[in-house]
Every structure is written in structure tokens, then in C-alpha cells.
């Protein structure tokens, strides 16, 4: 946020600067060095949200909650962050400006701004206001996703949890994203075992499903989007240090690969400062993809009681 300034000229100047797209100040738009893949992913996802978005739901991964908190600090200060059940015993709640660490879906008691019911949630879904990050088991070439089961639907090798809200989101919601904690061949088959989420199959191509189409898929290796011509999954960018071949070797289908695959966006110094110093000092963003030792280091930091007031400076 721009600092309050005295005098007419100064105010005018600030307003002009603030109307520009992020980053707001040239010093802040300076690109960072020494960032991690998780930070790249947080920034890439956060930049998906802007002033026209009403609300976003982060699903179950830690880094997506951090990304959403970053979006709140950057281009979409109006979106509340939704947290599910747990401490609230089945009550969703909305929070503004969360700072971590806290277990995702389990904000400290003083954090929630309001409780949210299942009916509120589905009203937002059905009204197209709900932007959502989902974690399916499989995503295929057409952008269909499966959360239901593994194997033959009639006699599955394993029933997982069913389709849950994926069929609802993929036909009704605002922007939808998949965020997968792993990038293995089995996560990205030619065809999913069960279409829980409607991708770019014949029904959407025919114009029968106007809403809820998948925008992007975030993995620990890359970002996929949908090729506008073929409506198939396209390799949009690879994260720092990841090669195109590495992605192809770990993907069960053959995505559309443009001649030049760019690197996933580089965070600005300001984005990195917000991530590291303001939103996520304990680095819970690393919990989803890190090694066991990295995770332990994060947990040790979280369990250190002195960190709590440091992370929540506005709380006593």
C-alpha cells in the first residue's frame, strides 16, 4: 500500500502510481534472485487474481493458502480467504489478511471475520463467484480430473472419496485451478479413470458447459494451461531449474509443447519480501513439496512459541 503523504502534489503523484499495474513502484518491480520454486508457484498463482475476483478457495495445500494471502496483499485485496471445518467443527469461515503459520483450515480463533455455511458456499459456486484451487488424483490431456476412485469405476482398485464438489465447480464456478502436490506419470494419464471434473471434452467443446472451465494446472515441475486451438493441455512454463524433458518424462500424456517454453514467472523483490517477511515467515509454503528434513525444519519453527507474536504482530 502507498504510504499516506502530505500535500496535494504528493497525493496526486501517489494516486497516479497506484493506478499502474503491479508492481506499484519501480524499486518494487525489481526482480528477485535466490527465490525457490514454491515462491515462484505462490507468485504465479497470486497473479491470477485481480480486482474483479470476489473470493477464492485454496483447497488443502499449504502453498495455495500462502499464494492467496499474497494475492490479497497485491492485486486482489478484496478477496477473503476461505477456511474449512477443523477447529470450527464443520464451520467454514472467511479471513482477511491471514499470516502464517497456522494449520491450513485451522485459523486461530481470533482470525475469522465471519462464518460461512455450506449453503453460502454453494450459492457462490452456482452464482459463478467462486474461484477455486482443487487437488484431484489425476488430470488428463483434455483437462478432465478425477477425485473419485482408481481403476475400473465398477470395481475400483481403490475407492478414494468420490467426486465431491468437482462436478459442481467445473460446471458452475468462476476460475478453477488444479494444484497437484506431485507430478508423476500416474497423476497425468492419457485419460482419467473417472471424469469427476468436466474438462474440454465433447460437451464443453459443443458449448454445453459455459462455466467452470479449468484455467491452469500447477505442479511441482511446471504450469499447464489449455491450448486455445486444440483445447488440450499445453505446457505453459517450467519452474526454475526444471527442463521440458523432465516434465515430459513425468507426464503420462503428450502435452502441447510450444517452440519456446518460458520459465515460470520470476518473483519481484516486493513479492518475495511479502512472502518471507509478512505472510509466511515460517515457510509453510514448503510443506507440500519439501523433503522430510525441510518439513521438520518448518515444523520446528512453527512449534517455537516465540514465533507466534512475531507472525501475528497485531495480536497480543
Amino acid at each position: 500500500m502507498a504510504k499516506a503523504t502530505k500535500g496535494k502534489t504528493a497525493t496526486k503523484k501517489t494516486t497516479k502510481a497506484a493506478t499502474k499495474a503491479t508492481p506499484k513502484k519501480s524499486s518494487k518491480s525489481e526482480l528477485a534472485t535466490g527465490y525457490t520454486i514454491e515462491e515462484q508457484m505462490c507468485v504465479a498463482l497470486a497473479r491470477e487474481f485481480g480486482p474483479n475476483d470476489r473470493i477464492a478457495l485454496s483447497g488443502v495445500l499449504n502453498w495455495t493458502f500462502v499464494a492467496e494471502a499474497l494475492a490479497q496483499k497485491m492485486n486482489a485485496p478484496q478477496i477473503p480467504c476461505h477456511h474449512d471445518y477443523s477447529r470450527l467443527g464443520g464451520n467454514g469461515c472467511l479471513t482477511e489478511g491471514p499470516r502464517f503459520p497456522f494449520q491450513v483450515g485451522n485459523p486461530p480463533e481470533e482470525y475469522p471475520s465471519a462464518q460461512v455455511t455450506s449453503e453460502d458456499i454453494f450459492a457462490l459456486v452456482l452464482g459463478g463467484k467462486w474461484n477455486i484451487m482443487m487437488q484431484p488424483l489425476q488430470v488428463d490431456k483434455q483437462g478432465n480430473a478425477n477425485l473419485a476412485l482408481i481403476g475400473n469405476p465398477k470395481k475400483p482398485d481403490r475407492y478414494f472419496v468420490g467426486s465431491r464438489g468437482l462436478p459442481d465447480n467445473s460446471t458452475n464456478s468462476g476460475k478453477t485451478y488444479f494444484t497437484l502436490p506431485t507430478h508423476l506419470k500416474r497423476n497425468f494419464p492419457e485419460k482419467v479413470d473417472f471424469r469427476s471434473s468436466a474438462g474440454w471434452g465433447p460437451e464443453r467443446k459443443a458449448g454445453d458447459i459455459p462455466y467452470g472451465a479449468i484455467e491452469k494446472v500447477f505442479t511441482p515441475l511446471c504450469i499447464f494451461d489449455i491450448d486455445p486451438k486444440t483445447k488440450q493441455m499445453r505446457l505453459a512454463s517450467v519452474h526454475k531449474g526444471v527442463t521440458v524433458n523432465q516434465v515430459l518424462k513425468n507426464t503420462g500424456f503428450k502435452p502441447i509443447v510450444p517452440k519456446n517454453v518460458p520459465q515460470t514467472c520470476v518473483p519481484t523483490k516486493e513479492e518475495l519480501r511479502l512472502l518471507r517477511e509478512v505472510i509466511d515467515g515460517a515457510a509453510i509454503r514448503r510443506l507440500d513439496h519439501g523433503t522430510a528434513e525441510e518439513k521438520k525444519a518448518v515444523f520446528d519453527q512453527i512449534s517455537d512459541g516465540t514465533k507466534f507474536t512475531q507472525i501475528y504482530p497485531d495480536r497480543k
Partner: protein, 269 residues
Amino acid sequence: MAVNKQMTVDQVVKQIKNGDTIVIGGWGLVRKPMGIVRAIAQSNLKDLTIIALAGMDLDMLVAAGKVKKAITGFVAFEGGEGRAVAYDNARKNGKIEYMELSEYMLIAGLKAASERIPFYPTRSGLGTDILAANPEIKTFKAPYTGEKLVAMPALRADVALIHANKASQEGYATIDGDRLWDHIMIRAADKVFVSAEEIVPRYELQKEMDKIKVLTPWVTGVVEMPNGARPGTLFPNYLDAGNRTIKAYMDAALDPKTFKKYLAEQTSK
């Protein structure tokens, strides 16, 4: 004079018949009427159809061999640690009939039933294998715009079971947190039984009128059932799912003998 609708859990079970369709309130492990569910699991009832956003409720009834068909939006121990081992096992071995929907398709079916209309229009399910797996669910073209929509068939139930924080003998009940979809579920059933942590006089409930989410015209009977949603959660009474109890359940669920013993132990507690 109001009628006293308070009854025992055995009286509730007596009002359920073999082959009945039962819709169960709550969500995952959240605010499930587990006390009544355990009583059904130990009864002689059979061939039940269960409609639920399911967790241990459905799984326990499957483990007890009570379920002919499950109609679900999901089956997961959401809100605690563990998974639906009995349902997974029944699906793997083809031992159960099922209609696996999305969350909203299930609600849409209940909405249709509650309004006595044959189907509810929705986009949910378009372009998914839910329609392929359930050919009885048809699509149609909207008469005004020609848009393709799913005609989710009405899901009518004989019995609805829900759990509440407090209830009065007259059949009013409070729900402190998210009422989830219980208000739709009770309207889609012929008989409605509400278990509550405590039964209190009507004038006590009046003090928290804004929390009364269940009205007496819908209610057949109320049962006092302290800890009635355990090992799941109830806001604000108990918010941590009993993960040790859930593990004990999962360890017992797949062996009929062990499971019988487990149920007996749970009920005597």
C-alpha cells in the same frame, strides 16, 4: 397443547422398516447422528438405502451389513484422520449398489423431493462420468434458452436422521454452527428423528431463537443423546474428531465378529 415428541433411540429404530431409504444429516465426520446410527447398526434392520454426504455414518452401516444401496456426494472421513474402509471394501468387491453423485447433485435431488417436483435443474454433472455411470439421470434442453441442463431426479426418503445441539420436547432444535444441508434433508423425508446433546424446556430454547434451525412441523421424534455425534465433531461442544476412536473403528470394521464387539463397547460407554 403441544405434543411431547421425546422418545428413546430404540423407539426411533422401531419406526424404521426393512428396505427404507434413510437420509442422514451432517457432512463427513461433522455433526452426524452417530448414536442413532450405532443403534441401527446393532438392530435387525436390513436392505437400507442410505442418502448422505457420507463419513463414518454410511461406512458403519455398510460394515454392519445394513446397506443395500448408497446414494452419496462423497464418502470420506472429512474432519478427522482415517478413511471409509468398509465402503471401499464393498465397492472393490461389488457388494453394494451405489449412486455416486456430486455434492450439489445430491442436494438438488433432495430439493426436488422437498418441493414435490420430479427433478431439479442443474449444470452440475454435465461433462462428467456421473452421467455415464447413472443412465437414469437425464439431461434436457431448457424450454426458454435451449441450454443443456441435468434433470437431477428427486431423492425422496422414508426417514431423515440429524443431530442437533439442543432440542425441546415439542420438536424444535438448535444448530449452533453450519446447519449444512440438514434443513433440506428433513423436508425430503416422511419421518424425521432428531438426536440432540440435550433436551431442554421450550422456554430455554427461546433464549437462543436465532439458532433454532429445525421446526416442529417437520419433526417426528427427538432423542436426548449426549455426545451423539462422537467420534465426529459438533460445534462448539467438541471440535476434535476422536482419531483414536476412528482408528479403533477402522481396525474393527472389516471383520464382522470384531465389529460386533466394537459396537457393543461403543454403546456401553
